[in-house]
């Protein structure tokens, strides 16, 4: 389980240990690990180059398909993707630690990639510089087009570099991936908010637009008392912690509301930042919890308490400060909604009062509706642009979109890959070969 530990703690393997692990790879034909990778990384190929002592070739091969090679190696739920598909499981042996190996070879990779020149290069604006936007930009640059990146935030890589806890994905690892992309010379404009006017200006100045703004808004639930002091915004909380600042939970009792990965990250971060007690309240049972198993196990290991079938019905205050939550127990009912069983309040159980000092709701993310709704775009009921499944083109000509903005909550690698696919489609259309 050494690699599990490494993934959780963001540590690099030693080269000797990495070679030992790599030596276990059978180099399978039509490798199931590569097939299970949303980006289609050539896993046996990069492992073979690594074993041959060709580290630069190994890194180059990963980065060709996955421009955030270190980030994905460390942050992907590999047990559900490449490592989950490893043939060694059939022999009841642990998988090759592909994620850790990928991160290792990518960290050793030194070169950037020079873009190909294109005589009639187009100019493309990429709005949102997270994984989807970067994936799209990288592909377009590789084809020689000019790429202008815009993001509301100051940094590249979107939520990846803002809210993933540093112990899982240290800053230096993301920086390594981004440094490698710097030779592609994409022009980044940070702190750029987009509204209809700004969008129209960008559209006039560019041959095409890519929208990769993801799901930047938090799902809200109207809980009485939620404006009390001590109720924290989960993104701000995680951002503070990632930046190395105290997120303000030391010696406090912290309640986390939700069962996704963000909730689990918040719970672990609270615990690691000295919270006296951390309790996760989730309104369904563990079976329905969307958070990944590895993250749940890590939280449990650190002593985070989980209370299933628990909904907060109101926040108890004292002088404007959080004092407790009132918890209604739920029960599962047979109805399936979005693939999970639904719940209803269990009238036979009394409402419980749980004392606490900090409350962090983490109820999931949604697409921000405001500015998108102003554009003349066809949107789904949840506010995502509707795109052509082959070309990623929206209802506006030469405006494309992909990633979480289009497909909803997903993995970094999935958004990255969607951005890359959209980039390929944009290139084909821009040079007149497709569409």
């Amino acid at each position: 389980m050494i690699h599990e530990k490494q993934r959780i703690t963001g540590e690099m393997m030693h080269q000797g240990h990495a070679l030992m692990s790599a030596g276990r790879c059978l180099g399978c034909h039509d490798a199931p690990c590569s097939r299970a990778c949303p980006a289609g990384v050539d896993v046996p190929g990069f492992i073979r180059r690594f074993l041959d002592g060709n580290l630069q070739g190994a890194g180059a091969l990963v980065y060709a398909n996955c421009p955030l090679g270190v980030t994905c190696g460390m942050a992907c739920p590999t047990e559900m993707l490449c490592e989950g598909a490893c043939v060694l499981h059939q022999a009841r042996q642990p998988a090759v630690p592909i994620g850790a190996l990928q991160a290792f070879v990518c960290m050793q990779y030194k070169d950037g990639e020079p873009p190909e020149g294109l005589e009639k290069a187009a100019r493309v604006a990429v709005i949102g510089a997270g994984p989807a936007g970067l994936g799209c930009g990288v592909v377009l640059r590789r084809h020689g087009h000019h790429v202008d990146l815009y993001d509301r935030q100051q940094k590249l890589a979107g939520l990846v570099d803002r809210v993933i806890p540093a112990y899982r994905l240290p800053q230096a690892l993301v920086t390594h991936d981004l440094d490698r992309l710097s030779s592609l010379d994409m022009k980044f404009t940070p702190g750029k908010s987009i509204d209809q006017q700004a969008f129209d200006k960008l559209r006039a100045a560019h041959d095409a637009i890519f929208l990769g703004t993801g799901m930047g808004a938090l799902q809200t639930a109207e809980i009485p008392g939620q404006s009390a002091e001590g109720v924290l915004d989960v993104f701000s909380f995680l951002e503070k912690a990632r930046a190395g600042q105290s997120p303000g939970v030391k010696d406090r009792i912290v309640i986390i509301i939700g069962g996704g990965n963000v909730a689990l990250d918040a719970a672990v971060v609270a615990k690691r930042n000295g919270a006296r007690e951390v309790i996760v309240l989730y309104r369904r049972s563990r079976d329905e919890m969307p958070g990944w198993q590895a993250e749940y196990l890590e939280a449990s290991r650190l002593g985070v308490e989980f209370r299933w079938l628990s909904t907060v019905i109101s926040i108890v205050q004292d002088g404007g400060k959080v004092r407790a939550v009132l918890v209604q127990k739920m029960r599962l009912i047979g109805d399936m909604r979005d693939g999970r069983r639904w719940v209803e309040p269990d009238g036979d159980q009394p409402v419980i009062q749980l004392p606490c000092e900090v409350i962090i709701p983490a109820l999931g993310q949604v697409v921000e509706r405001d500015w998108l709704a102003e554009l003349d775009l066809k949107l789904t009921s949840s506010g995502s642009p509707i795109v052509d499944t082959d070309t990623w083109q929206t209802s506006l000509p030469l405006v494309f979109a992909a990633g979480e903005l289009v497909s909803g909550g997903s993995t970094i690698v999935n958004s990255l890959h969607q951005g890359m696919l959209a980039g390929e489609s944009m290139h084909a259309i821009l040079v007149g070969k497709g569409g």
Binding site: H14, G16, H17, L19, M20, G45, R49, L51, G53, N54
Partner: protein
């Protein structure tokens, strides 16, 4: 990105890279070869063919491995010549050359009489083969009638025969370059290489497989692979034969100026580099492809071109033979150098294997306590055995004492 030019010139033939598919089962049919060339191999020596007068009956099974599986040490075979006789192989060569004009298409032939050698080589030459390889080194049943040799011995084990057959073949080949393939199973391979030169050969390919017995079946006592209760000597190839191949290439390179095609245990680009540094210009691969497929070519060319680029060599020709001057006789080694083993505690996994090896195979210089190995620098002579048995690459270094 790996952009170094990998082109080489071998016996006057331009190769896109040094890597050729060796005469073997991997080149026994045009469709297989076409897939290999599509994957990026620079050419192929088609499987050795002969005259239709010769009986060519293979007994099956014909393969047995030393430590079979993904860590196969060596592969033993009792294969013979191609099922396709010379005319059919010439047709395949023409078809391949038409489809792959940039690639080197070579024919490998083996005869038993002068008339056969002449006919085989002429046909190969007329078919437009880029190269002709004379196979006088296959451990399974080559012979020359009426020349005092018994069935089963190899022409290339006799310098006089080697020169004679080389001359027959070269005269029949006309302008087509003739490469002669040699066996490592000789007292002095330099003597044989010089016989190739004297006979007019244009190049040498070394090494062919090593004659051996890979193992016995403990129930029937028959050599592996067992065929109806019996077995036979076979040709041994793969990773395990690389040291023999490198030594032969180095010896030949030091003694002749003929272009050399290195073959024997090439699995990765570093193996390839070693053959080039010891004097080879082109390289041939069979067993690694039989085990892992034609696709390994991308890892071979990628690794080699990156290394060349990193070391600022323009192409593989630039490194030919650069390792020969570091190869000296034992007396010429600097005996005053003193090294000791250094174990990296951070990396050591506490297996104790170095301790056991040193205790029972060397100088009792590694203490093992609390699952930690420590080197006694006074007792360590610096033999390097521990470094060879440690399962963690890079954990043990030999450092100046």
């Amino acid at each position: 990105m790996a952009a170094t030019n990998l082109q080489v010139s071998f016996c006057g033939i331009r190769l896109l890279n040094p890597f050729l598919l060796a005469s073997s089962p991997v080149t026994d049919h045009q469709d297989m070869v076409a897939r290999g060339l599509d994957a990026g191999w620079a050419g192929a020596v088609l499987k050795t063919t002969t005259h239709p007068d010769e009986e060519n009956s293979i007994a099956y099974p014909m393969m047995a491995g030393l430590e079979p599986g993904s860590h196969l040490v060596g592969l033993h075979n009792t294969d013979l010549l191609s099922d396709h006789y010379i005319d059919e192989m010439c047709t395949q060569a023409i078809w391949l050359k038409d489809r792959f004009p940039e690639c080197c298409i070579a024919l490998s032939v083996m005869g038993t009489t002068r008339a056969q050698w002449e006919e085989l080589v002429q046909k190969a030459s007329q078919a437009g083969a880029d190269l002709i390889e004379a196979s006088i080194s296959c451990p399974q049943g080559s012979m020359v009638e009426g020349d005092g040799t018994s069935y089963g011995s190899m022409i290339s084990q006799d310098a006089r025969l080697t020169e004679k057959v080389t001359r027959w073949a070269k005269e029949a080949a006309g302008k087509t370059p003739l490469v002669v393939k040699l066996s490592p199973g000789v007292t002095d391979i330099v003597e044989i290489a010089q016989a190739v030169k004297a006979g007019g050969g244009d190049g040498i390919c070394a090494i062919d497989s090593i004659e051996g017995i890979v193992g016995l079946d403990p129930r029937s006592y028959a050599p592996l692979p067992v065929v109806g209760g019996f077995g036979t000597r076979g040709g041994y190839t793969g990773k395990a034969v690389k040291p023999v191949g490198l030594r032969c290439i180095a010896d030949i390179a030091a003694a002749t100026d003929l272009p050399l095609s290195g073959v024997g245990g090439i699995y990765n680009w570093q193996d390839a580099l070693e053959y080039l540094l010891l004097g080879a210009t082109s390289l041939q691969v069979c067993t690694a492809v039989m085990q892992q497929g034609f696709g390994i070519i991308s890892a071979l060319t990628d690794g080699l071109s990156r290394w060349l680029e990193e070391h600022e060599y323009p192409d593989p020709m630039a490194i030919r033979g650069l390792g020969l001057k570091q190869l000296v006789v034992h007396e010429a080694l600097p005996h005053e150098i003193r090294v000791v083993a250094l174990i990296d505690d951070e990396v050591c996994i506490g297996c104790g294997l170095c301790h056991v090896a040193c205790r029972d195979g060397a100088h009792q210089a590694i203490v093992f306590a609390d699952r930690l190995a420590k080197v006694d620098r006074e007792a360590c002579v610096g033999c390097g055995l521990c470094q060879q048995v440690c399962p963690v690459p890079g954990c043990i270094q030999m450092v100046n004492a």
